[in-house]
Assembly symmetry: C2
Homo-oligomer: 183 residues x 2
């Protein structure tokens, strides 16, 4: 029998690739190899399936980037290296949460909330890695900007530009702390 996780996996791929509103339940059904009846047993409505898609993607994405960062020599810069790899994937299409928010942010409070929480979590990761709130927030902006520009221009170059800018901000930050200590 087809499992919940199988359906979610196929739905995730379809929704991310083409946008939530461009994918019908029938297509999810076909991709997952499940009957419409069973699909609606597992997820009582498309809205709920979309929300679960975003929650599942949030968990996988945050886990991946966090795992890549925490074991790295320089965790902050490692995030930008991870972004570069992500951007180079052939099916990269920007941030799923930004896309979903653009589509449904006005229409669905649930989607807007999930997107906001995802961005807050990403910003929280940077605050932790940078060990400074303001610096973490600035690094978040670089990363978000890189995601947007990479998606729309179709190149991975923004990740490298963002990494270089991050190096500059890190140097400035540590330089100013050095000075403060010397005063």
């Amino acid at each position: 029998m087809v499992e919940r996780a199988d359906v979610l996996e196929k739905a995730e791929a379809l929704f991310y690739e083409r946008g939530v509103q461009q994918v019908g339940m029938d297509e999810v059904r076909t991709a997952a190899g499940v009957s419409l009846k069973r699909l609606y047993q597992l997820f009582p409505s498309k809205d709920r399936l979309v929300e679960e898609y975003l929650l599942a993607r949030d968990a996988r994405w945050m886990n991946a980037v966090t795992a890549h960062a925490i074991n790295a020599d320089n965790p902050v810069l490692a995030v930008f290296d991870w972004l570069a790899e992500w951007f180079a994937e052939p099916d990269f299409r920007g941030c799923a949460f930004v896309n979903a928010y653009g589509e449904l942010g006005t229409a669905s409070l649930a989607v807007a909330t999930i997107a906001r929480r995802h961005k807050e979590a990403f910003r929280g990761l940077f605050r932790d890695l940078a060990d400074d709130q303001e610096l973490g927030d600035q690094l978040t902006l670089l990363a978000e900007g890189a995601i947007t520009m990479a998606a729309i221009t179709g190149t991975a170059e923004p990740a490298h530009q963002a990494r270089r800018a991050a190096e500059g901000l890190l140097a400035l930050f540590h330089g100013s702390h050095e000075n403060r200590r010397l005063q």
Copy 2:
């Protein structure tokens, strides 16, 4: 008689506020106070109306930010001040081109192209204002990230964070040029 520009203005407000796919031609018709027949005389299809909406918005937006920057004391930082004002507008809902790309980027080559050209133009502005390509690109990432974070978190604060980060990058850039001159 209702003019083309009137229709475009109403369509722009609706499409931006709720997303292209959430607004039907009937609603544009009602908002603009025009008959469906005349609406289709002015714009032969919804696709075309959407493309013209994006082109019109691109022109207005780029004009506004450029005008605000070029007469400022510090043109680069003036862009971030302008972003702060934009984010504080009650109907701010992020970047229309990012939203449209998220909705239709896969389905419509025309929309994807307009979005790409818009982002390239914005990046071009920053390259001109910063008088340096790499610095301009990094500033673009800060601005784009601020737009995304402001839209999803619903505050104007990212503009101020981006401005402070931009001050840092500008200082670094001019410092390194200073050093190069002194060597």
